[in-house]
Symmetry: D2
Subunit: 269 residues, 4 copies
């Protein structure tokens, strides 16, 4: 089987869902300064042919928030009334070096069927109206239009079209997102993870009428359902080629105790 | 085909080749301080039920060198007489923000057949002698013992056994590595990437008798052959279960201009 | 004498010339992200009364550019045609860890007579027009108005009034500054350092008509004259109380090889 | 008076009490990685004579703990049973961005009489035995030997001799320190700050027999008495020239909310 799998991987069409990482990319205000890279060791610095032969090396240093750029949230990232997933009190597992449980090192590699619901494509617009909210009806409608069924174990991606604005922070931060009914729709289908081409999956201005919570998915999917949230995906290419059904690969790094991880998810078709 | 691929991915046995990331993990002295994570926003800080409902979030900040932990080297990382891959002069593409060409954002996701040559296993030892060197003959012998053939397009992993010492920096830094003849052996087979369970693939004390270069693979595979090098892999599990032939998935992040990227490679069998 | 000096120090009126340091303070775009502080170790984390008694500690981590906030430039910070002060070629003393000569660790503590030329005060405005330029005639006129003489060995401070806008980055970055003739005026008087309540001492939009250089003082005072430049001073209080003549204390930190240092200068009257 | 003060400052003999800051300097294990500086923008990068004239600039980035190198502790740094100075509950003023009260921005510039008690010099040894403890009797004896009286409002510096080992982290971390009785002796005299040439002022292995607390001064001087602690001073020169009585200048930076600040204290004689 490894041979068959390797052959399929090699011959698959690979769609890269990661946005490029650079200083100045959009960042949620909470997570500023977000991302910084400095190249400080250069080749000429280490080139000493008489001592080391012709070889030289260059390298740099990264400073970044784990929620900068395309990333996945760990279960410890969000709490509901200070309880994390499994009703674990947040206080009990917080340390200066990170969470002693539910950190991103416990998120398994996501290897699953992926489904794209291209809501912007369905509506025939380059992107949905700023700060607008995607409902369960929208997801139903889009799935029917595309002939797609979302099933248990799937990874669900929703396209708003704002991924095309990755170089324009102000416009990007006003992206559309998924509303409460849309999030419930996803959870009911038993997906293992959801993701969108915006900063937070959630519709930015919406509040749960029951609890007043902002970012409903964050307080529901992570602490209550154990469903991961992926943010800042680039869904432009999969949208353009109408790749709605694919093998999804998303592999977070094991930053011990951290609340999320940058990663580079792929859609293979 | 996506369905078949997704099914195979879901049912595969997944071996995680990434070492855990934590403050104090082994780091090449050149790349100190290496890795640091601080959790600074805690749930209670953001919990304001009257304003935001029951939701709260936690997050931290990472400072790290791109060559810390399990990672892959970009082509710009190493030069031969100040020429990078394709004979590009290093000086011409170095900037404070990274390399304008050959940066890690240009490394494609590695989706390939993977082969493990477990040299320590072949020799029947938990790990090879400290600082010892693996030759072409060793790789030949190990491949014959395992009944493995390394082919063009493969990813070649070599196990020294030092991955088991990830929690002991001093011992880990004295790992065995691959000597010049072993590196040439790999390059002749046309692999796309090599990796080992040590800090640098190369045998640490060896010098190329022709040029005096330390770390022969670094001055040969990257600038001359365009073959990627992966370091600090955890090959203990694949060695133990004798998983020598597998589908390899290794997906670096697109840190624009950076000389490498931490990643979490997988062996699927 | 130490007793007399200590007595004078204790009884002096102390004017603090440092702007507060906080995330979001104004930063020259070149030096973004500028300043970040995260408190990550909190008292409860380390409070283990049964093991350590009643004591606990808290601490954080700083990431910052050496040119963030109130600071002084080292001689290595600026070059003229790639020559540093003393005609040292920049390339010869640059390393990944900083400059091997002319770094900020060689800047002595500045203990001198200080003179404030409050140009905004002289003109009777809260602040000079945005991006306007202070000339030699302005400095002459202001000095005559205040009855001040600038002498060799003095530290010269020039007030534009923009220090009051430290909480408004956009407005602050449009501050007035000192033009070429004003810089030459200062240098002719043999001052050891100059400083202003703006991002760069220099008038931001001016170019030297002879060479086309932006930031004339940076290419003249540091590489040619060895006169230090101090930036982002808070001169509001000394302006308000008309403290024009004072003992100046400015003590940079010895960051080995760095191109500048944040510091907290004082005016004692 | 400013003129007299400026004259005295200019003519004083200046002893620099700051240790140099460099990657690899000693750091308390709690505060690792401690200190990192990377020069990443170099002169050639910004030298564009046709666009900017002959000027170019270089700069870097610092990552550091506020307790790295020569520094002063803010009152919020230490608590006694989770109460800070003034019985303020630590929890109430901790935020991700630092303390809302008692942060280092509230520490005034220290301008005072300084007294050095050179305990190592008094005992005629280059340094006191490793991890040994300096008692009230020692301070009394040393003060009598030197003919010094410590008075209210003074800054008290105690020399162990370990400042000479700043380049040897292992040896430095085993420095002698001041025991409980010595700390009480200092507090009784009403000093405003104490400092020593070691990592923590306190004797490293001593515990308060009453409470079991490690680092007695940290739980007593800061939370109970409001007396600042200064660490990693370089007292070698003042010891060598027997400068026991001087004007002390120590000016922390105003990092808003931080628990301490690196600084460069001076002794003027």
């Amino acid at each position: 089987m490894p041979a068959a799998l390797a052959d399929l991987l090699r011959s698959a069409r690979v769609h890269d869902l990661e946005q490029p990482r650079f200083v100045g990319m959009p960042i949620f205000p909470t997570h500023r300064p977000g991302y910084f890279y400095a190249l400080y060791r250069r080749h000429r610095d280490t080139w000493q042919p008489e001592r080391h032969g012709p070889r030289s090396g260059a390298s740099g240093v990264l400073t970044m928030m784990e929620h900068a750029g395309t990333h996945i949230d760990a279960l410890c990232h969000q709490a509901c009334n200070l309880k994390l997933h499994g009703e674990v009190p947040a206080d009990q597992i917080e340390t200066p070096a990170g969470f002693t449980r539910l950190g991103v090192e416990h998120v398994p590699p996501l290897l699953a069927r992926g489904v794209l619901l291209d809501v912007a494509g369905w509506k025939g617009v380059p992107r949905l109206p700023p700060c607008s909210s995607i409902s369960a009806d929208d997801l139903d409608g889009c799935a029917a239009w595309a002939g797609m069924e979302v099933r248990a174990g799937d990874v669900l991606l929703v396209r708003t079209g704002y991924g095309a604005l990755w170089h324009d922070e102000a416009a990007y931060l006003d992206a559309a997102g998924v509303g409460k009914s849309g999030t419930l729709w996803a959870a009911e289908r038993g997906v293992v993870a959801v993701g969108a081409d915006n900063m937070s999956w959630d519709a930015p201005d919406e509040r749960d009428p029951e609890t007043g919570a902002t970012l409903f998915a964050h307080v529901y999917l992570l602490p209550k359902k154990g469903i991961y949230i992926m943010e800042n995906l680039n869904l432009e290419e999969v949208g353009r080629v109408r790749c709605y059904d694919f093998a999804f690969i998303g592999i977070p790094l094991k930053f011990t105790g951290a609340t999320g991880s940058p990663f580079r998810p792929l859609a293979l078709a």
